[in-house]
Structure formats: C-alpha cells, structure tokens
Symmetry: C2
Subunit: 308 residues, 2 copies
C-alpha cells in the first residue's frame, strides 16, 4: 500500500488544516491510504473549529520521512511555503486555489488549482465527483475553511462557488452560517494570549517578488488598536525575521473582521513599495490603513508584486 | 465578451492541435468565446485526422496579439514550449498531462493536470462534468489525439482512463479503433516528402535539465532505416540547432510504430548522458537502439533528466 502524506502550508490556517484532514478522509473512503499532517501550530480559530466538530488535529511534522512514498499538497504549491525537504519527495497531487509559482515536478501529477476562494470548495466538488457522502464532521471542517478564507463570505476572493458550497455545507454540518462563522472568527481574533512573536508568525507567508524575498503576515482582530499596543515588541520580532531571512520587506497586516479594513505595518528596505502599491502614506510609525483590504492573496500580494 | 485564445505547444502534435480545437468548441458550447490557434505546422498525421473528420486546422499565430484577454494552454505548461510572448499574457487555464515545470502566474487560475496519457482524455472528462454532448467530429479528434500519444494504446504512458476514453470515443466517432488508428499512424509515418530539417523539427521539444538545454525530437516511422538513409543531412541540421540554441544535447528519436522500439541519434557535448540514461553504447554513428522505448515523456525525458 502506498504511504501518502497530505499537508498544507507552513503557518497553517484553517483552510490548510481542514483541507488536509478532509482530503485524507476522502482518500480513505476511496480505499487509498493517506494521512494528514501539519507544518506548524494550530491557530485558536482552527482549534475552535476542530473542537466544535470533535476532530483531532493532524500530526505535526518537521520534515517528510524517508518511508513516505507520495505527498499531496493542499492549499499551497510554492515550495518555500512547503515542508523543508519538499525537493526530496514525490509530489503526487496538488489541490490548491493560489497562483502557481516556484513549483516543479520530475513526473506528471494530478494538479488541480481553481480560482476560487478556498481549497475546501474544490474538495467539496471532488466529493461529488467521486460520489462520496460528506459527513457532518467533514462538512463542518470545509465550512470553517471557507468562512476563514472568505472572512464570512465578505472577502473579494469569495466566489459564487464558495458561497454556494458554504450554504450547502452549513446545512450538512447543522449550524447557522452567520452565527457559527462569527463565533469562529472571534475565537481566532482573540489575541490576548499571543506574544509579539506569535502575532508576526502565526499566519506569515513568504513570497518571491522580482528578486526580493517578502513576508506578509496577517492576523484577524476585533480591535486592531489592541494589537498595536505592543508595536515596539512586534517591530523587534519583525526586524529579527528580516535579518535572519534576508527579507526586503515584511508587511504585517492586522485585519479588522468587523470593519473589513486592515491596519498594516511595513518594515524593511522595500517598505516604499507598500506606499506605491496601495497609494497610501506610511505614518511615522510605519503604519497605514488599507481601506477595504482583507485579502492577502487578491488585494495584497497581487498589488505588491507589481512594485518589485 | 472575453477574447480567449486556446493553443498547445510549439512543434504541434495531434494531441496539441485536436485539444485546442475540441476545447474551444466546448467553451463555445458553454457560452464562452474562445478561438483555437496553433504555434507551428500541422503534421501529416494530424492532417489525416482533420481530413477524416472534416475539421479545419486552427489558425497559425506567431505571437499572442494585444487584444487577447486570456490564453488557455493545452497539452503543455512549460513556457519554453509555449508562444514566445507567453510572459506578457494572462493565462486563465491550463489543461495538461505533463510534469509541471517553468510555469508561473501572477494570479490564481484554473490549472488541471492529470497523470494520464493524453490531454484529450481529460477533455473527454470535462465534457461529462459539464454535461455537454460530444459530437462525432470532437470524438474523432479526441480519439486521434489518444491514438497518437499512446501509439495505439501501446505506450507505457497509456492509462486505463485513456483506453476507456478511446473505446468510448471510437464508438461515437463511428470508426474501428485499430483500423483507423493504424491508418492514421501510417499517414504520420509517411516521411517521404520530408526534408532533413522537417524531420528534426516536426516534433521537437526543448527541456531544461539541470542547467543544460536539451532538445528531444521524435518521429514515428514504419521503417527507421529509411530515415537514417539521410543521416548526414540530419546531422547537419542538428548541429546547426545545437549552435543556434546553445544546446548541450540533441536527441533525435526515430520510433518504429510496428516494432515499438526507437532508433536514437545523439549529438552534442552531453551525448554521454544518453548512454548512461539508457544503459546503451552509442555506435560509431552516434546511434543506439532503445529497446521498447516509445514514450518521450515517460521513458526518455524522465531517465535523461536524472543524468543532468
């Protein structure tokens, strides 16, 4: 039997964790052996979803063991967001909803990316294509992923397909979409026990823009001022990350889940590119309000890439 | 209305041409405007299929015009196999069955690659997913693509899905698979009117292996000796290609469609890698018989890449 491992990106978010769990379950239902894994800590938002639907988090791995035959990447394809020894493994599948970049294989594979708001929306389709019934637990996990990636269907990344899937899955999961969704987002936005290091790393992604390395970290909050109360400590952690990883830019984005705006902090040599990308002026604390910006993928990375 | 162009790789083969035609037709059936195109000359094998089913070849393009909004790549994803100005266009979709390499986009897209023997096999599935009836012409074109890519279902790249699709499509197209298939392959293997330059360029693909540029050209023949009667002229054309394109290796593969073997000619600094890859010795004419080797993708490129 093939030994297959399924995981999402580093700094896992709810879509990454839930998609790994759900897809492994689907594979098992299809008679294929597959195990979910994760490359980082579970966020409090994700933990809320797991607890709510009574599902155990996937096992943490630092690297892929030698006895693994295949890996399946969900919710990412760029190697710098993946496991450290990604170059040494055989990638048999990718299920993703991001742009394709810094990805390559030696052999043909099953690669499925669709321009929707969430990996789980694609998984929901794959259940149907394979005529496998979606359990209450899997529906709950996929719903949580869609709510998380779309900020309760409010992000510009959210497509009609995501919306349709969300309502369908809420019914199977037996929850009211808005009530459950806001509860879950608030659980994720409870940052009271987070250190400055937690805040800048809990959902950080690295991108290659032009020849530059850039990290964009995003946290959801009910009150962004509360986050910036510890701006000095946050800046210290970011400066360290910039030095350790040779980053040209670190953009820290605190997204207000009630107002659907983002309060961003930009540090690094290329911080001027943030001003150009969003037509804003950074204030004396290197911060700027990005009006209506909630999506890292569609509103931040796309605009920022063009400046490099 | 969006202006979308659909095309396959340079040095187009039957899968590339037929997939562009068929997918454009499917898009139109779904109410989306899309036009097929081609990046090179139609082979005599492909022409046989087009004539048989009464379909006109797609228009030749040298580059994508500025008024094109989106391009859809079929049967390839590597940029060096695509249109010259691929970096300046918006790729909205990829439908392919090759490894993923040297491909990247700025935005999320619909990327669908499956490890099957032929792009048309995937297209046949997409017809079903969209509940669009396959016409006799489209069935004939998809069948021709599968026969071509699988050498009449004999190549190791041919999967159960390809086989199933082929039999299903033969029925819709109203032809006997074996009779039609051999006729089509023989039409393609009629090389009597080909110049040496035709032979080395009619189905040549460029690959980046390690840091080296490698081209692998393949021709199907009923009698490979007939091809090598003009080996001197062929070598001259290859030497010119090596110089003009800074190739480390040019591997010319003459595949016997009746015996299912290949008689290969290797030129360039890295020709020793061919000996290592296939555990053969090149003779004094730089040639070697590759027993049972018929698939460039699965048997040649994979093995050869490992040596660079």
């Amino acid at each position: 039997m093939n030994n297959t491992l399924i995981f999402g990106h580093k700094s896992p978010d709810t879509d990454t964790i839930c998609s790994a769990l759900v897809y492994a379950d689907l594979k098992n239902a299809l008679g294929e052996e597959a195990k979910p894994a994760r490359l980082g800590d579970i966020s409090s938002e994700t933990q809320f979803a797991l607890d709510y639907f009574g599902v155990t988090a996937p096992e943490y791995i630092e690297k892929v063991d030698e006895d693994v035959d295949n890996v399946i990447l969900v919710d990412h394809n760029e190697f710098q967001q993946s496991v450290d020894n990604i170059n040494d493994v055989r990638i048999s599948e990718v299920i993703d909803h991001h742009k394709v970049s810094n990805f390559e294989t030696k052999e043909p594979l099953y690669f499925r990316a669709e321009p929707v708001g969430c990996t789980a929306t694609i998984l929901n389709k794959i259940f149907k294509e394979n005529e496998v019934i979606v359990s209450k637990e899997n529906a709950g996990l996929m719903l949580s992923a869609i709510i998380s990636d779309s900020l309760l269907l409010k992000s510009p990344t959210c497509t009609a397909e995501d919306r349709e899937a969300a309502y369908e899955l809420a019914e199977i999961a037996g929850v009211d979409l808005d009530t459950y969704g806001l509860e879950m987002l608030k659980a994720g936005a409870d940052l009271s026990d987070k250190t400055a290091l937690d805040l800048v790393t809990m959902d950080a992604k690295e991108f290659t823009m032009g020849d530059s390395k850039v990290q964009v970290a995003q946290v959801n909050a009910v009150d962004t001022n509360q986050i910036y109360a510890s701006q000095d400590a946050i800046e210290k952690e970011i400066e360290k990350l910039i030095n350790d990883n040779n980053l040209e830019l670190f953009l820290f984005v605190a997204t207000d889940i009630l107002e659907n705006d983002s309060d961003a902090l930009a540090l690094g040599q290329a911080k001027g590119n943030v001003e150009k990308a969003f037509d804003v002026k950074l204030d004396e604390h290197n911060r700027a309000l990005l009006k209506g910006v909630v999506s890292r993928k569609k509103q931040i990375v796309t605009n920022l890439s063009e400046q490099f």
